[in-house]
Every structure is written in structure tokens, then in C-alpha cells.
């Protein structure tokens, strides 16, 4: 299967799962894993751990939970 077809298939799967009502994070994750498998088979999955760690271990993104905490605190403070 050519790379173009793989991308097309993955994208179609993503759109299909998304519109069908699958939870958005899983609708993104499942086609991503399928693409990895199509690209390099099982060894391609080795990157999952490092990518998961690297993408979330970011001080810049700590503002996200703190920003979400702020309105909750204001709301609870009455």
C-alpha cells in the first residue's frame, strides 16, 4: 500500500470514527496507531512511550490545568 493511500485511509478512519461519535481522544489515537502499524509494523509503536512523555512534559503547558483551576476557584469562592 502506497503512502498516499495509507494517509487517505487513516484520515478516512479518523473522520469516520469522529462523526460516528467516538470519544475525540480515541478517535484521534486509534487511526494514529493504525497509521504507525501500516508504516512500520509493530516496531513503529516503540515511539509511543517517548512521544507521549516528550509531548506532555512541558512547563509551558502547565498553564492549562492552572487556567482551568482558576474559574473553578472563583466559582467556589462564591
Amino acid at each position: 500500500m502506497g503512502p498516499e493511500l495509507q494517509i487517505l485511509l487513516t484520515f478516512a478512519l479518523f473522520l469516520g470514527l469522529l462523526t460516528a461519535g467516538m470519544a475525540v481522544p480515541f478517535a484521534i489515537a486509534v487511526p494514529a496507531v493504525v497509521y504507525l502499524l501500516l508504516q512500520g509494523g509493530l516496531p513503529a509503536l516503540n515511539s509511543l512511550g517517548l512521544v507521549s512523555w516528550g509531548s506532555m512534559n512541558s512547563f509551558t503547558l502547565t498553564c492549562v490545568p492552572l487556567f482551568m483551576l482558576m474559574p473553578r476557584s472563583f466559582g467556589s469562592a462564591g
Binding site: T19, A20, G21, V24, N46, G49, N57
Partner: protein, 392 residues
Amino acid sequence: MLRPYVEKAFAAKGSVMLGEYIYPVQVVWGRKKLSSLDDIKGLKLRVASPEQGEFVRRFGGTSITMGAPEVPSALDRGVVDGIFTAGVGAVLWKDLLKYGYLISVNVNNSYVIANAEAYRKLTPAVQGQLREAVVAGARWNQDAMKQEEGEAVQTLTAANYVITRATQDELAKASATMKPYWTEWAKTRGPDVEDRARQGTSRARPVAMGEAAGQRKSSAALAKQAIAETRVELFCKGLCVAALIVMLVVIGTDILTRSLLNFSFEISDELGGYMLVLISFVSLSVCQVNDSFHHVEFVQARLSERGRVISRLIFDGLSLGFALLLAWQLVRFELSSWRSGDQAPTYLATPLWLPRIVLVIGAAALCVSVARTLIGHARKLRRLTGIQPHGS
């Protein structure tokens, strides 16, 4: 009926409830034909609460949320086919609507409250006078709105609106369709509401009853929760709370020392990042059981309840496959960090296997929660298809 629960909820927030009144009942108004429950099918209706949204979905419509200022243009452009409001609301947009289907969907409550501390400082006589004034004001408010509601319906009838009152059969059908939903709904609101819902099951209810003050939850998706949190999710939730506190303390301390003492511990970047990883991964299982992940409702809204449960089962199966795969890879990643003895290139020189272990905990908890969700949906499907488990 709700008063003791509402008073308790307000008391927990340091307020005293002095009085209450209700707004006119919420019914459905449409641009397109809307004279029966069956007409809801295929319509896009603007709703004001998750419960109204569930009502629409259960009758084959699509629920849409938007702010009141956007409603006129949405009706005009056909973005929505109808709205839920009382007659007084429909009069405001009477040129944009044509049909009124008077089915008691829900009522909205309003409460007059006072700061408990300030209230207690008043003499008993003044407290009594205040309560009397509030009760009189609330009664006037309610009566005036009731009268205006009657006038509004007359105005709309005179404007050639097609107004249909729901029959007793339709009311019974709507109540029966929504009844299973309330059991699930009550579970998400805590023991007080569950207790009240259990007591109230024999009573006739508005089909999409409004929520009591102080018990509203922010996410519409919570209304669909089918799985209760167990120790796994509670443990994960506790970890996330602890991580958030650590994050706040570490970053807050660094901000203070930097601005006041011109000094930094140089660990906030590192620890903040670790805490974020923890929160991101460990919260997954909590989100899963609470159905807090976003969904696109486009197709789901058009499916029957059985169809929705079957599709959820398929999604759960795929999600479980992914979660297991992720857990497997993260365990390998953790073992590789342990064996290689990787350390963070920072002041703390943290052995990386230590913060990375939260990835494994999060993925394992996610597997458990997805499996529980899958079992929950399988049981629901079994109930819907009428097949009883052996020995039951």
C-alpha cells in the same frame, strides 16, 4: 419537595435561602411543523440544559446549545428549527417562529438567598420581616409571570401560530421515554439527589425536569454517565489533586522568591512538567468513567438508544485495544528508563524512571476503566434487548 435539599446545598456555600419562585413552564417552539412528539425527529432544536438536550435526542432530534443573543439569527438562517422557552420568550421572536407545542418539558427555579453570616447578625424580628418580604415578592413575581405567560400564548394565537397542547398519551410517552435517564442522572448528582429521585419515581415528573440549585454540573456529557467511580478512579483523582497542589505550591513559591528575593530554586520547570504528565495520564480513567471526553453527536443523535449502545460498545472495544497497546508500550518505555539509568539533565538530576512511572499507572487505570465501561454498555445492551443474565 426540593426545599430541604436546596437549603442544604446553599448552606454548604454559606448562604441562607429566603424564598423561591418558578418561571413559566418550558415548551417547544418551531419554525417547522411541530405538533407532536414525532415531529421532533430530524429537527435541530436549541436547548438550554443538558436535560433538554437528552429529551430532544431521545425523540430523534438534534440538540444545539447557543447563547440567547444568537438565537434570532440562528432561527432566521435555519441554523436551528426551533427553541425551548416559555411563551413570554417566544413572543420576543414571534416573527421567526410559527408552531408552538405545549408539552411541559421543565421548569426553571429561582432562589432568593442571603449571606448566612450577615443574615445571622440581624435580629429575629428583622429576619422575619425579611423573609416575609421575600416570600411576598417571590409570589408576586411568579403570579405576574403566570399572567404574562397566558397573555403571551393569546398573542401568539392571534398571530396565527399553530399551537398544539400535548395529549395525556404524549405526556405519558415522554415521561416513560425519559424515566430511565433520571436514574442515571441522579447517580451523577450524589446520594442526596439519588435518594430524592428514588422517592420521586412514583410521582409524575416534567419530562426534562430542571436541576436544583447548587447541584448543576458543568459538562453535558456527565448526564450520560453509566459507570460509577470505584477505587481505581478515586485513587487517580486523588493523585491528580495532589499533583495540582504540588504544581501550585512549586510554581507559586518560585514566583514569590523570584519577585521578592531575586532567587529561584530552579526546579519549578522540571516538577511542573512532571506534574502535568501525571495529571494528563492519570486523569484519563476518571474522564473515561464520567464520559467527560467530547463526542460529535451528529450521527449519535440519529440513532435509536439500542443503536447508540451498540456503537458505544464498538468504540469501547477499539478504545480498549488502544489502551492495552499504549499500556504495553509504556511499560516497555519505563523498563528501558530503569535499565538505562537515565537522569534528567537538571539541578535535581531526577532518575527518569521515577516520573515516567505515572505513564504506566495512568495507562493501566485507563485499561481498567475502559473495560468497566465496556462491561457497563454490554449490560445495558442486554437490558435493552431483554436478555437476562443467567441466574438472575
